[in-house]
């Protein structure tokens, strides 16, 4: 049901509706040619020096209901509507890169080939025209777009509504079906009403994250009308609150994402260092091997980055596990009970592995492609969207953690590992082959490092220094969480990730990292056995 009042103010709406419908029918050539002369007349109105003339010309284009109107207006807005110097013809630049630009005739749509940019004059616009164009285009979009683009258009007009557009929007509101779009339209109208001094309009604006809404509210908060100013301030406070929540959620997400990377990097170490007591400084390089496996698999299977990445998971585990076995057999077994020497020897191994990659592959970073199903993001609301690759890595980290817990708690190997670590001699006398358990455990820890590498290849550059940058962090996580405690590693990794993200905004990335390091150094001194220490005489070692 339309009221007579809206009918009267909605003549522009009617024209836009027609325009929109015509756009839909634009493929009909007959119609197009019939209107060619009218089109030329309205279009050429734009070719003027005065912005006032151009404003009128834009109005005329809208009123002309020509089906090419959106094309023209969009081109004008983007600065792509230009005049050929030689014959004054108006053309649309298709691609404005380089010196010669491909253009097409604005009227006929004929491709005119490439034209040197110096032969073209841009039809200039000012801010007032720009906003006029945006409003017009938004209106068109509101009528003909799908839900998503209608939502974007509604979002776009917020803060740019004048009386005329307000009438058009109200008309559109009657017909709009999507609640979300209606909500945005209401907000756009409310901002308009607020600008005219209606305090009641504020109600609709609560919780909006649109920056134009905030601008309008901020302006209204300084209004002379106490009622309006007061209402606006309250709404602003509410929005501020919501923004804060969003920021917290975002920090938490990034923190957990970083934390899961730390957990992945550290969890293998938690087994070799935490459970076996072997300190492996080459752990970082085992991670690096995993990442290079992902790269190598993509080289082997060109064009199928996703499949290659999936295959890299078991292969990366194997590669790193085998490298781990080689390290255990070649170096560590000779240094039993001499942790400091083990540390030095495995550090040597890490240098060799790094240099090996530098010599054999390249000292430069390699790119590992992110498969399509891992790219993009999920939008939670206006201010918050979660990137998919981080989400996947997070899930992967939890999966690996759960699997490891299962292995340690529920399998024969886990039982034997725990037996050997608690009392080697006793375990041996009960028929457990300690050497075999050592090898398997070390292989498991190393293999997990490989998995971490495969996951990391999706987030960071894959280069010879990849491992180095994670080794100190990984040790910090294990020590912070309490040696020999997988849960501790999980909690420590996640909390360090979050702490780092919380500190970063006001301290900067480097300072945040320094602060976290200092924090851990102090923490270890306060609680040398970490967050979740093992207690009792056995732990005294």
């Amino acid at each position: 049901m339309r009221t007579p009042a809206t009918l009267m103010t909605s003549s522009i709406t009617a024209r836009i509706v027609t325009l929109a419908l015509l756009c839909l029918l634009a493929w009909l050539p007959a119609l197009a040619s019939a209107q060619d002369d009218d089109g030329r007349a309205v279009l050429e109105g734009l070719d003027s020096r005065s912005f006032a003339d151009k404003a009128e010309a834009i109005e005329a284009i809208i009123q002309s209901e020509d089906e090419r109107a959106t094309d023209w207006l969009q081109a004008l807005l983007d600065g792509n509507l230009q005049r050929l110097k030689e014959d004054g013809r108006l053309v649309i630049v298709v691609d404005n890169v380089g010196r010669e630009w491909p253009v097409r005739d604005a009227l006929t749509g004929d491709e005119l080939g490439e034209v040197p940019r110096r032969d073209l004059d841009r039809i200039t616009i000012n801010n007032a025209l720009r906003s006029q164009l945006r409003s017009a285009l938004s209106m068109v979009e509101l009528y003909v777009g799908d839900e998503r683009s209608r939502l974007a258009a509604a979002e776009g007009v917020i803060g740019r509504v004048d009386d005329e557009l307000a009438a058009a929007l109200e008309a559109r509101l009657e017909e709009e079906e999507s609640d979300q779009v209606r909500h945005r339209l209401n907000q756009a109208l409310a901002v308009h009403r607020l600008e005219r001094g209606e305090a009641g309009a504020v109600e609709t604006l609560y919780g909006s994250l649109n920056s134009n809404v905030r601008v309008a509210l901020t302006r209204a908060a300084q209004s002379d009308d106490a009622q309006v100013a007061d209402a606006a301030r309250r709404a602003l406070a509410d929005i501020e609150q919501k923004l804060k929540l969003n920021r917290i959620a975002e920090t938490l997400y990034f923190g957990l994402s970083m934390g899961s990377v730390l957990v992945l990097a550290a969890i293998g170490l938690a087994i070799t260092f935490g459970v076996m007591g072997v300190i492996n400084m080459a752990h970082g390089e085992l991670i690096m091997l995993g990442a290079y496996t992902a790269w190598a698999m993509q080289q082997l299977l060109p064009g199928q980055p996703g499949l290659a990445l999936l295959l890299a998971i078991p292969v990366g585990f194997l590669v790193s596990a085998l490298a781990g076995i080689a390290i255990e057999r070649g170096v560590i077994q000779f240094l039993k009970g001499r942790p400091l020497e083990t540390l030095l020897a495995t550090f040597g191994v890490s240098l060799i592995l790094q240099q090996l990659v530098r010599t054999a592959i390249s000292p430069l970073n390699r790119t590992v492609i992110t498969p399509e199903w891992m790219s993009g993001s999920i939008a939670i609301n206006d201010a918050l969207s979660l990137t998919l690759n981080r989400l996947y890595v997070m899930g992967f980290a939890l999966l690996v953690f759960a699997a490891l817990m299962l292995v340690m708690r529920r399998t024969r190997l886990g039982l034997e590992v725990r037996a050997v670590t608690q009392n080697r001699a006793m375990a041996r006398s009960m028929g457990i082959r300690a050497t075999r358990v050592d090898i398997l455990t070390f292989a498991l820890g190393s293999g997990v490092a490989g998995l971490a590498g495969v996951a990391l290849s999706q987030l960071t550059n894959v280069g010879p220094n990849l491992g180095q940058s994670y080794i100190i962090d990984s040790f910090m996580v294990v020590v912070f969480g309490g040696v020999g405690n997988l849960w501790g590693t999980l909690v420590a990794g996640m909390s360090l990730g979050v702490i780092n993200q919380v500190l970063e905004p006001w301290a900067g990335a480097v300072l945040a990292k320094i602060m976290v390091l200092v924090f851990i150094i102090l923490f270890i001194q306060k609680r040398p056995r970490g967050l979740f220490p093992q207690k009792g005489r056995a732990a005294e070692g």
Partner: protein, 376 residues
């Protein structure tokens, strides 16, 4: 001061000092007395290089003092070395005066570049040599005191201590990379001109620095030797091998650890202060964990808990590094990595251990307290 005199009654110390003196004399003579065209002439570049080795040797002695005798594997001694180096660098920076690129008499070039208008408080006083040289000792000493106090009080030892010392130097490296710290950021401090009024680019100054490094090494060696042969040194060894027992004998183990750790840090600082004028630059890369762990390798290769082994190790590894990086730079990291593995697996007592076995066989006697290394 009996403890400081005591080393001079030992044959091994006299032998070490004799060899050092001989080496210094020979190099000096070959540099000054042999004409330039002669093949035996040692040029200024080589003197400079040897001076650098000597300051590294002092650093290695400092590390051996804590690792060999106290059992504390510090993977962060490069931090103390670098702090001493920065203290010296700040002095040398102030000596540039208005001869810098920007000609500011007060501010070093990098501060002018960063648009700073006055000298930060912690740069005050570094124009005076005595103050700067005091800071060479105090800056690393203070860091070691605070860090050691916290660590030893809560009985953080073994691998844990190693890892947090590494984290310490890593955190310092990140800090010094920041321009806001006021130490020249990435580029560090460089373009030095004079030390105590002597032109740093002249050959005579280089020879002087080389001899000063030799003297510092001799002094540092005697101090360390004095400590390890005193009763305090035996308490250190006792702590290394059976910490709980030492505690139950009534020794405040953490204080002994702290004392020796601070002494060692100061020695490392002196080494850094001698190093900087000889290489002409100090930047945050000296804080890199890799450098600190390399120092440990020098000591391991030379043989720990001997002190002279540390000197041998420092010189061997650094000579090898000079040769390798000149001939085939790619191979150096392979060689370094291989050394780590070989020394720890096959040569746990280092070169000094080999020497000691030979000496013992010839003399047929048992070990002196020095060579009683942890065989376990």
């Amino acid at each position: 001061m009996h403890w400081l005199v005591h080393p001079f009654r030992e044959r091994s110390t006299l032998l070490f000092l004799g060899v050092l003196l001989l080496a210094l004399t020979i190099v000096t003579l070959l540099h000054i007395a042999v004409p330039r065209e002669q093949p035996l002439h040692v040029n200024a570049y080589t003197v400079n290089l040897f001076g650098k080795y000597l300051s590294y040797a002092l650093l290695a002695v400092a590390v051996d003092l804590v690792w060999g005798y106290l059992g504390i594997l510090s993977l962060g001694h490069g931090a103390f070395f670098a702090l001493g180096g920065y203290a010296m660098g700040m002095y040398l920076m102030r000596q540039i005066g208005d001869r810098g690129v920007y000609g500011n008499p007060e501010l070093p070039d990098f501060m002018v570049f960063l648009n700073w208008d006055s000298l930060p408080w912690y740069w005050q006083g570094f124009d005076m040599a005595w103050f700067a040289f005091l800071m060479v000792l105090l800056a690393p000493g203070l860091l070691a005191l605070i860090f050691g106090f916290l660590a030893f009080r809560s009985r953080v030892t073994g691998v844990y201590l190693s890892i947090i010392t590494q984290a310490l130097t890593f955190a310092l490296m990140l800090s010094f990379f920041r321009n806001e710290m006021g130490f020249g950021g990435n580029n560090g401090l460089t373009d030095f001109r004079e030390i105590l009024g002597f032109n740093l680019r002249s050959n005579d100054t280089r020879l002087g620095l080389f001899l000063a490094s030799g003297a510092a090494l001799a002094l540092g060696y005697v101090v360390c030797r004095g400590i390890v042969t005193s009763k305090l040194g035996r308490v250190c060894v006792a702590t290394r091998d059976a910490e709980a027992r030492t505690r139950f004998l009534g020794y405040r183990v953490e204080r002994f650890q702290l004392f020796v750790f601070v002494v060692s840090a100061m020695l490392a600082g002196v080494a850094g202060a001698l190093y900087v004028p000889q290489v002409g630059i100090i930047n945050p890369s000296e804080f890199a964990p890799l450098f600190s762990i390399e120092i440990v390798l020098w000591v391991a290769l030379g043989g720990r808990a001997t002190l002279y082994g540390a000197v041998i190790g420092a010189i061997i590894v650094n000579y090898a590094k000079t040769v390798f990086t000149g001939v085939m730079p790619d191979a150096w990291l392979f060689a370094l990595g291989g050394l780590f593995v070989l020394v720890t697996v096959l040569l746990p007592r280092g070169v000094a251990g080999l020497l000691a076995v030979r000496v013992r066989r010839r003399r047929g006697d048992d070990d002196s307290p020095v060579n009683r290394e942890v065989a376990a």
